[in-house]
Point group: C2
Chain length 196, copies 2
């Protein structure tokens, strides 16, 4: 099977990176040097290392659709502090997130119709694909939200109140503006997430 | 409350980034330009944008402890292709992963004892913290593994066989070597993940 353009580009970029990979990087230990973890969105516009100022070895980065404090994100945060020594957590969502454009019912409907990419006409999602789809989508909580600031507050609260997250770890809440590149602290979230 | 050193550093790095954030970046659309998504580990040594060659707007990046194909990672991958048009998926684990150093029983035991960071003495994890801990950890599957190559194969298989992942999307399997910076394709995984 011939490799796709994307695979060829990724492999070429990686060969360049590996070619300049020095001894210092090869000896980095597993625990993050700067002892913090960030939970944020998978959004392609968020260049995590640039926007937070991270180099190899600095911090754990956990990403999912929406940057939500899902059970899996909590699993990752607990491993981060319990085994690898992080002492501060950031929850960072962003403006113009795709997660506000649908809800569980919309997603279940689209996927029941087909497994092809839907289109958004500026008002609503429309499925243009050919079936078959799958009823499996109706069993999933897609973790959408309607207000980006409130979602930061909700997720900081969920991490703060989780029985496996120690009260000594502060949980900060931020919203990243994809139009300006700026992080804005959501003070109400950080207040909720403060260490005891 | 005064800000921690980490918060001050992150905010300063972000202010620098936002200061050079140009008009082009401010207008990036939500769908990833290069139409692919990567599922990988939260490990601090993996500088995703450098090692895969990614700029702002290129690709979705999903990260959790181990880069596992958890239900939450599948949720994110489905949103990625169904609403945002990605057409290829990468599953990338790495060498020297912390996930091979424990299992569900070890983690439940450590967390039942305390919510402080444990230490690894080269042979096993030891809890040195003061209680109280929490029995909640025994309810969680920590998604550990014992063989890094097999874990890539297992996760590609899980994504490939998920009823909400279309057969038209190839799922590639790679192992990243944290000592050399090199991505190695796990041919057996990519073969399992090939598009139909």
């Amino acid at each position: 099977m011939s490799k796709s353009t994307v695979v060829q580009e990724v492999e070429a970029a990686n060969a360049q990176y590996a070619g300049r990979f020095g001894e210092k990087l090869s000896k980095l230990p597993i625990p993050p040097a700067r002892k913090f973890a960030i939970l944020t969105c998978m959004d392609a516009r968020m260049h995590a290392s640039k926007l937070f100022g991270l180099e190899e070895g600095d911090a754990h980065i956990i990403r999912n659709a929406g940057g939500r404090a899902s059970d899996d994100a909590i699993r990752s945060l607990v491993i981060s502090y319990k085994l690898l020594g992080t002492k501060e957590f950031f929850v960072v969502h962003h403006t113009n997130c795709g997660m506000v454009t649908f809800n569980n019912g919309v997603m279940a409907g689209l996927l029941a119709n087909s497994l092809e990419t839907a289109v958004h006409d500026g008002t609503a999602w429309k499925d243009v694909g050919q079936g078959p789809g799958s009823a499996e989508a109706a069993k999933i909580d897609w973790l959408t939200f309607t207000d980006d600031r409130q979602a930061v507050i909700d997720d900081v609260k969920k991490v703060r109140n989780h029985p496996l997250v120690p009260k000594s770890i502060p949980v900060y809440g931020y919203l990243y503006d994809v139009r300006t590149g700026k992080l804005e602290e959501i003070a109400e979230a950080t207040e909720i997430g403060k260490a005891a």
